[in-house]
């Protein structure tokens, strides 16, 4: 096991390097000039050139890349152009918001998606199956910004049960924290619930067709135990694999949700930074997200080895 972990971490290093270089190059290919934006509408050419020199943007792109990478290697993410604040600090401040949002959405997605999928598989080809699959289809096909707006109209405006925007830190008040998250997290989760329910259903149907399920029935195992013990354990292996993917998508999806619900998270920071051509922030944020995805994948591999005995010994 420690060898597996070491190996996966070693694999992650070149991946992170490629992410860093690609993000950097993509950002610098975008049209627009941060110096112009920072200097303001009234600035003349000299002032803009001065700002550009101060930021080091007058140097060749490859030289800038080299400087950024060498600083990164020393743990320095650089300074934001628009916030007058180190990038690491800017990201760190907003991280809890995005993590809370993604994790609460994840905690909603996993049980609901799995239960719906299993129920649909067990009652396949009945009205229960059709109803669940119809809901799942709505979940994956209706855009979540639209659901978000409808949800705000109903729960915040008409009923007044939940706040329509903003974020309360967990340290301030746990219940208000939860109240501020429940609506955006649920909206964010809907797509993934639909996806996970469909995935679980087909995995479960596949498992229910296996010979070992027939063996269990031939032994006299009750239908309930056949599903919960013999079939579900095997379905779980496939669910674990996609759950990492789902968490990554939830973190990515928070970019849109944070905009709609005006939550000061990484997603909102990223969008603002792109608008302002704030290279260091965009690069630093992308790198953090890339790191999060790689980290999630490593954790999933470890969980997988725990769930499937064949992985443990091979």
């Amino acid at each position: 096991m420690p060898r597996l972990i070491a190996f996966r971490i070693a694999q992650a290093i070149p991946v992170m390097f490629v992410v860093a270089v690609l993000t950097f190059l993509l950002m610098h290919m975008l049209p627009g000039d941060p110096a112009t934006l920072i200097a303001g509408d009234m600035a003349d050419q000299d002032a803009i050139a001065q700002v550009r020199r101060d930021l080091g943007l007058d140097r060749p792109v490859l030289a800038q890349l080299w400087l950024w990478i060498t600083n990164l290697a020393q743990g320095d993410f650089g300074k934001s152009l628009m916030l007058n604040q180190p990038v690491a600090e800017a990201v760190w401040e907003r991280l809890p918001v995005t993590l809370s949002l993604a994790l609460v959405a994840f905690v909603i997605t996993i049980p609901v998606g799995i239960v719906l999928g299993v129920v649909a598989a067990v009652w396949r080809d009945t009205w229960v199956d059709s109803a669940v699959m119809f809901l799942a289809l709505i979940g994956v096909s209706v855009p979540n910004f639209w659901i978000a707006i409808l949800s705000v109209i109903l729960f915040s405006v008409t009923l007044g049960w939940l706040p329509s925007s903003g974020y309360v830190p967990m340290g301030t008040d746990f219940w208000r924290w939860l109240a501020s998250l429940i609506q955006p997290a649920t909206v964010l989760a809907l797509f993934q619930i639909g996806y996970l329910a469909r995935m679980t259903r087909s995995a479960m149907l596949d498992v229910l067709d296996q010979d070992y399920i027939r063996t269990a029935r031939a032994k006299g195992v009750s239908p309930r135990k056949t599903i919960l013990k013999h079939a579900f354990r095997n379905t779980l292996m496939q669910v674990v694999t996609v759950s990492g993917y789902i968490l990554s998508l939830l973190i990515g999806g928070s970019v849109v949700i944070e905009q709609i619900f005006a939550m000061p998270g990484i997603g909102r920071l990223l969008v603002q930074a792109i608008m302002a051509r704030d290279y260091p922030v965009v690069q630093g944020t992308m790198l953090m997200l890339g790191f999060a995805f790689v980290f999630i994948n490593i954790v999933i591999d470890l969980i997988y080895a725990y769930v499937d005995p064949r992985v443990r010994y091979d």
Partner: protein, 324 residues
Amino acid sequence: MLQVENLSVDFRVDSGWIRSVDEVSFALDAQSTLGIVGESGSGKSVTALSILRLHARRNTRMTGRIVFDGEDLLAMPERRLHEMRGRDIAMIFQDPMHSLNPVLTIGDQIGETLRIHQGLNRAAAEKAAAGLLDMVRIPDAKRRVTDFPHQLSGGMRQRVMIAMAIACRPRLLIADEPTTALDVTVQAQILDLLRDLREEIGMAVILISHDLGLVAEFAERVLVMYAGELVEDAPARNIFEAPAHPYSEGLLKAIPSADVDMHRLYAIPGRIPDPGDRPPGCNFAPRCALAQPACSATPPALDTLAPGHRIRCPVRLAAREPAA
């Protein structure tokens, strides 16, 4: 002990229902051995699975009666059936690679039968599982109980399946092609094991196989099935020495033999008809060397050729009658 009466099994397909097993009847005494032989698609495995009602209910229709110790298995409530499965009637399957649950230890899987039917707790069941592994001659049984199926060879896995099946000392063991997926040397060991366990436990065994030679060697009585129907029911010795139905004859001739110098292996010409597209008369007529015009007109009935010997072939029945 077991009477199967007019068992028919239909499966739902897109265009309606097709008949897989057609009016099959036979009986089995306690502690006896019965072999069921036929090609793929003959309905032998479907018949076997029907005894424990293991078909998916949503697309299967079964009619007739399967009486075990006076109770009709086809009519009994699910709950009662669960009690009998694994306790009174047990089953092993063709493919030991896929018949064991990959994420559970073999000790857990064997012990489960005992936990369900004899109320043993986990520790006691695990201990009993080790004893059962010993019984099916798996070396170092105590350590093996914590193994997962992928750590065992095919032959070992079939032994585990057998251990699981005999855990409650059932009165009937149904073995559906238990050796088909195994090496020839392992096949012989598994059959020897089944023979010994049958003696030890005193259970009846139904052995299903496409290999007539193997079945005739193991069973006292043999049923030959073709296209969902029983075509011959006879003592094993009769089938082996003097098969009466032309199909049984063909099956016997198709066994390769080492002491006869043959340039080509024998094969019955043609192939088994599709269940949805069976001939109007005798199912075997299109492939039969003895076929008369009448054979293709009316479906023949299963009739007694000699005491304890039934065949479904009017030609052979007519040939014997003057002598009798």
